[in-house]
């Protein structure tokens, strides 16, 4: 399956390079065409690939780790918290003074949210408290983002809230790719190595411990990995929701419901979803381009509804 997914991702990546409002830029036959491809489409397609990949992977990790098929960076507030931290870095001018401030702030925000959520899960109250905690984090982060933007002296900052929260990878240049990609790749490497222990964790923490898992250091490792991935992704693209929810769901049954086995396919499906969605928003005949996050939410939110209904309260009750 992974081979087919890889082919799909490669095809969508190439499609993403080929499609855009200027259609075939190489027909211009001069540097401008080259600039369009290199400065606009390559960063956009590569960011789509990486961000989709890490969001899908983060969803798979969170779902396996929290033993909860509704866990997703956007739904439980990890993206929103990362977004708030990135907004702070951006509007305070810190990001302009020190380029790495933007992804680092996003990573810190995401890691704090993951730690908060883990605290809620540890106290043993299950799915409901996890989701309520997510609601709370989302609400606080959204309010704080509005506050920071209202304080910014740039007259356009406040109008940006809706655009920023909706998430987009339009017109990011190579600098954004350069500052975010390393963190996303390192984060992915950290969690990909933990697949075996995720399987053990799916049997419960006590069982995992008896199988030789150091649950404490594993928790730190996963927190760090998800923080790096979601934080860096959100700091450049805003909140792109539901990718982390959909991707593991699509492949879970095909890997025998092993959380560790969902990691790589989820990453590939996530990348395919974001690349595909980002190509679709470019082609939709809307007056101005639809935000990528709006599109993924339009498609993803009904998916969440379906997942909740299918569950029949089985895990909602625990």
């Amino acid at each position: 399956m992974n081979r087919w997914l890889l082919l799909l991702v490669a095809a969508l990546y190439l499609l993403s390079l080929a499609v855009g409002p200027a259609w075939w830029p190489w027909r211009l036959g001069n540097e401008v065409g080259w600039t369009i491809v290199w400065e606009l489409r390559v960063p956009r397609a590569t960011l789509g690939l990486l961000i989709g990949g890490v969001l899908g992977l983060s969803g798979a990790v969170l779902q396996g780790w929290l033993r909860n098929p509704l866990a997703e960076p956007g739904v439980i507030g990890v993206s929103a918290c990362a977004g708030f931290a990135a907004v702070c870095a951006f509007y305070s001018g810190l990001a302009a003074a020190f380029v790495l401030a933007l992804p680092l702030a996003g990573i810190a925000g995401a890691a704090i949210a993951v730690a908060l959520l883990m605290g809620a899960v540890r106290s043993g109250t299950g799915t409901v408290s996890l989701l309520l905690m997510g609601v709370a984090i989302n609400a606080i982060a959204a309010a704080l983002i509005s506050l920071v933007l209202a304080l910014s002296p740039n007259p356009f900052a406040y109008q940006e809230i809706s655009l920023w929260l909706a998430g987009s990878i339009v017109d990011r240049d190579l600098r954004y790719l350069a500052i975010a990609a390393p963190f996303m790749i390192v984060g992915a490497a950290i969690v990909l190595g933990a697949g075996r222990w995720l399987d053990a964790l799916s049997l419960g923490e006590d069982t995992a411990r008896s199988l030789g898992a150091d649950t404490r250091s594993l928790g730190l490792r996963l927190t760090l990995g998800v923080g790096l991935m979601v934080g860096a992704a959100t700091s450049v693209a805003g909140v792109i929701g539901f990718v982390g929810l959909i991707a593991p769901h699509l492949i879970r049954a095909r890997v025998g419901f092993r959380p560790g086995g969902t990691l790589v396919p989820s990453m590939l499906v996530g990348a395919a979803l974001v690349l595909g969605a980002d190509t679709v928003v470019r082609l939709l005949p809307t007056a101005s381009e639809l935000q990528l996050g709006v599109f993924t939410s339009l498609v993803g939110a009904p998916f969440l509804v379906r997942a909740v209904r299918k569950a029949h309260g089985a895990w909602l009750a625990t």
Binding site: L28, V32, L40, Y91, E160, V170, D171
Partner: protein
């Protein structure tokens, strides 16, 4: 008298006698948006709340057409005269607004000399001859000004065809950077200082792709305050366009 929007403020600050104007909108005190910010700073700032207007005890409130109906009713109920002036989107319309405001203030002579000055500057700065190229105006959030907008007129007067108008965009629309590059404009007009206080909306000012285009196109930096309102300040825009085109 009190004026209630940025563009009317700018005209009132020029037309009114020193003791005539008792308040202008708070936006006029922002040096990024208002050319006469230092003069406006001497006056109390007014927000769109009836209380902050009435406390200044004006006889006349000048506001833009399309202001909130409740605001107008409350002002009239309080016995204040209200004058509504249209939003000018061209230099010609600005002249009409100036005439109307000057008449309301009893300062027709000042209005006439202001308009005469504008016509003189326009005559001097207007490009004579065939269009010298295409230009595109870029503003926050990938916005641009097309047909029927003030910037369209200013570009045309300065001898440029507006790329946005040719792409069929109305007075306000959006253009992706890709479309801008593919259109290969000869002149890119933007507010180079827009991103001094960073915002995603305005960060395109430093986008690599635009810098790459700069090798082929000329770049004109026009601070927003010279192009946001139709009026005498627009000639500073034209002066900068002319300078960049040289």
């Amino acid at each position: 008298m009190v004026t209630l929007n940025l563009c009317l403020d700018q005209m009132a600050l020029r037309l009114a006698a020193p003791d005539q104007l008792v308040g202008v909108s708070y936006l006029s005190q922002d040096p990024r948006l208002s050319v006469l910010a230092d003069r406006a700073a001497a006056l109390p700032p007014v927000r769109d709340s009836v209380e902050s207007i009435l406390i200044l005890r004006p006889d006349l409130v000048i506001l833009g057409q399309g202001s909130h109906a409740r605001l107008k009713r409350l002002l009239r109920d309080a016995g204040v005269r209200v004058l509504e002036l249209p939003w000018a989107t061209s230099i010609g319309e600005a002249e009409t607004v100036i005439e109307q405001m000057a008449a309301a203030l009893g300062r027709e002579d000042v209005g006439r000399s202001l308009i005469a000055g504008m016509r003189e500057q326009r005559r001097q700065l207007a490009w004579k001859g065939a269009p010298r190229g295409t230009a595109v105006y870029l503003e926050a959030n990938r916005g641009t000004s097309g047909k029927g907008s003030l910037m369209d007129e200013l570009l045309r007067l300065s001898g440029y065809r507006n790329l946005a108008s040719e792409l069929g965009i109305g007075s306000f629309g959006r253009l992706s950077l890709e479309t801008v590059l593919a259109g290969q404009p000869d002149l890119v007009v933007l507010d180079g200082t827009a991103n001094d206080n960073p915002a995603r909306a305005t960060e395109f000012v430093g986008h690599h792709a635009l810098l790459a285009l700069a090798g082929q196109a000329k770049l004109a930096s026009v601070p927003t305050k010279y192009s946001i309102c139709a009026g005498p300040d627009n000639f500073e825009t034209m002066r900068r366009l002319a300078e960049a085109g040289r």
